[in-house]
């Protein structure tokens, strides 16, 4: 039974990891450790060769994607976070229908024209855009300019052309208007501060960290994207104390409890009790590296498992019911490793003691039509020896970070956890008896003062 449970867990793990492989929309901004990534997903459709147009676009975007920038910390003495951009370009025909909404749909066409983007969509909102781009454009840098529109950024030049003024276009939003001379000339002067910007009036300019990439990050309004304190380490010559961040945590999980009882003198004797368990913990979390968090938790676990069976021997039919309940106080030590944007794996030992163990055993015995009861439905304390409870935890956590540092202010992390006991629960003359827990729950991390 344990083998079947572990197989199911493995399947679920694989399923979860596979589902998270593709981002959910055309433009995603997400922090991974101390780096904030802007990821653009483009699906290319072509009126000619998709493969050739994908290759053309990859080459055209190479000067502007990927790009790396520094994100400053609030304290200028401290080191910096990183901001990086990356683009994924696929053939539209090779994207599954169910996944197409996660890509900006760009059609590359022949002929003469001016490339455009359908609309400006905000990153991380589940929406993707698209457009029609001409294969032979004014400059290959046009595609870099258009990708910034796919990310949701507007133009940064004052459009003094009559058709644009008639449409009410106001890119600069600074209260200034075009002069008569600018209107007569159909000029497009860059907005103040954007003179060297790809979204200004010169599309051949390179991407700007502050004007372009940081503007994309600022559009998302996610506190998690702010450079976290744990990434902003002090410079080496700074003599002020480097404080270790200790974040209080509480956790609550519940699930399946399985108690196995084997008798070494009777190899055929193998009882499995099943029931429920509840686990409450309080502890401390600390960031060890940008991907690893250490957690120490004081835990209380309450498990209740039951077993019923019926057997007939020599004309006597015995119907037996047993329930065992444990209260275990333990210290749990775990390392949490960030696997992907969304998921972390946790593992570590747990050591504790049973301070509460009780059981009840009752049933009926029927012989020649006469039934007698035995045992008691009242719980009795288990007075036998109780071993040191040593076990191992293995879990999976999903990052639902609400806070603005690596550990999170008010971060709630739902998780799955499997507790594997190494030692027997009770000292039953060497008989094997172990309590397994398979739980789901949530961990809450408090703010650091």
């Amino acid at each position: 039974m344990l083998g079947k449970i572990l197989s199911s867990i493995g399947f679920l793990l694989c399923l979860c990891l596979n589902v998270s492989a593709q981002l959910k929309q055309g433009t995603t901004v997400k922090r991974e450790g101390c780096t904030v990534y802007i990821t653009l997903q483009i699906g290319v459709e072509s009126d000619s060769s998709e493969a050739a147009d994908v290759a053309m676009l990859q080459e055209a975007l190479e000067p502007c994607w990927p790009m790396k920038c520094d994100m400053p910390c609030a304290d200028p003495r401290k080191k910096i976070c990183k901001l990086a951009s990356r683009v994924i370009i696929k053939k539209w025909s090779e994207i599954r229908a169910a996944d197409r909404r996660k890509y900006h749909h760009v059609k590359i066409v022949s002929g003469q024209g001016v490339s455009y983007v359908n609309d400006l969509t905000t990153p991380n909102t589940g929406k993707s855009s698209g457009g029609t781009w001409y294969r032979h454009e004014y400059s290959p840098k046009v595609y870099c300019h258009e990708t910034l529109h796919l990310c949701g950024l507007p133009d940064h030049y004052r459009d003094c052309r009559a058709n644009r003024i008639a449409l009410g276009v106001d890119n600069c939003k600074d209260g200034d208007t075009c002069t008569a001379a600018q209107i007569a000339a159909g000029a497009c002067p860059s907005c103040p501060g954007y003179e060297d910007d790809c979204l200004g009036n010169d599309v051949t300019k390179p991407f700007s960290c502050n004007n372009n990439l940081m503007e994309i990050v600022r559009m998302v309004h996610d506190y998690d994207l702010v450079c976290p304190d744990s990434c902003c380490e002090l410079e080496e010559d700074d003599h002020s104390s480097t404080s270790l961040q200790l974040i209080p945590t509480i956790s609550l999980d519940a699930g399946l409890a399985i108690y196995t009882h084997k008798n070494k003198n009777f190899p055929d004797f193998n009882q499995t009790y099943s029931g429920y368990n509840i686990n409450i913990g309080a502890g401390i979390a600390t960031s060890i590296t940008d991907k690893i968090v250490g957690l120490g938790t004081l835990n209380y676990n309450y498990s209740s498992t039951s077993h019923s069976d019926e057997n007939t021997t020599g004309g006597t039919t015995n119907q037996n019911n047993s329930t065992i309940r444990f209260g275990r106080l333990s210290m749990k030590f775990q390392l949490e490793y960030e696997l992907t944007n969304d998921f972390s794996v946790t593992a570590g030992p747990e050591v504790g003691a049973l301070f509460c163990a009780k059981a009840k055993n009752y049933g009926t015995s029927t012989y020649n039509g006469m039934t007698t009861s035995y045992g008691s439905e009242e719980f009795s304390k288990i007075t036998g020896g109780k071993n040191i409870q040593l076990g191992f935890n293995l879990g999976l956590r999903k990052d639902v970070n609400l806070g603005n540092n690596a550990i999170g202010i008010g971060a709630i992390t739902p998780y799955f956890n499997f507790y594997y006991p190494i030692t027997n629960s009770l000292d039953f003359a060497g008989n094997g008896n172990k309590m397994y827990n398979i739980n789901v729950g949530a961990l809450y991390k408090f703010t650091k003062n």
Binding site: G113, V114, S115, Y116, V117, N118, D119, L120, G131, T132, Y138, S139, V142, H145, E146, H149, P154, D155, Y157, D159, R161, A162, N163, R164, A166, L167, A184, A185, G186, A187, C188, G200, N201, D202, V203
Partner: protein, 147 residues
């Protein structure tokens, strides 16, 4: 005789006055690039059929221009096409959320009514028909409104 002369004079004056009044419409068209590169066309027709065309390129200003007059018959054909296209029932803007690309803006003023329509990165049959008619009329000037 004297009265007849005065009557004729009055009638002539009235006729001249009426003739000097503006005909029934005035058209403005802006077409071309919405991006910070490319060309833009400006085309205006007053009520007397006087046409003014300017071609500009971003960063270069005006690169071509033309002044000419179309006939009253051609003006009427254009007016008829405005009606056939049901121009006054069109929306003010089509696909205005799109960025860059090309667009056309048309404003028609006739008598006491006026209508503006902008079409961005798409084509509306009614607008296309109106532009096609105009392009037919002005083709002799080697001008074609494109968007």
């Amino acid at each position: 005789m004297k009265n007849l002369f005065i009557l004729i004079l009055l009638l002539s004056t009235s006729f001249s006055f009426c003739a000097a009044q503006s005909p029934d419409y005035f058209m403005v068209i802006y077409a071309g690039s919405n991006a910070p590169w490319g060309k833009n066309q400006s085309f205006t027709i007053d009520a007397n059929g006087n046409c003014k065309y300017i071609l500009t390129e971003v960063g270069k200003g005006a690169i071509d221009s033309n002044l000419f007059t179309i006939t009253k018959t051609e003006l009427q054909e254009l007016s008829d096409q405005v009606k056939q296209s049901k121009f006054y029932t069109l929306k003010k803007g089509y696909n205005t959320n799109s960025v860059d690309g090309t667009s056309i803006y048309i404003k028609v003023t006739q008598s006491d009514k006026s209508k503006e329509v902008s079409v961005v990165n798409t084509h509306i049959p009614e607008v296309d028909a109106l532009v096609d008619k105009l392009n037919t009329i002005i083709s002799t000037q080697q001008i074609k409104i494109k968007y």
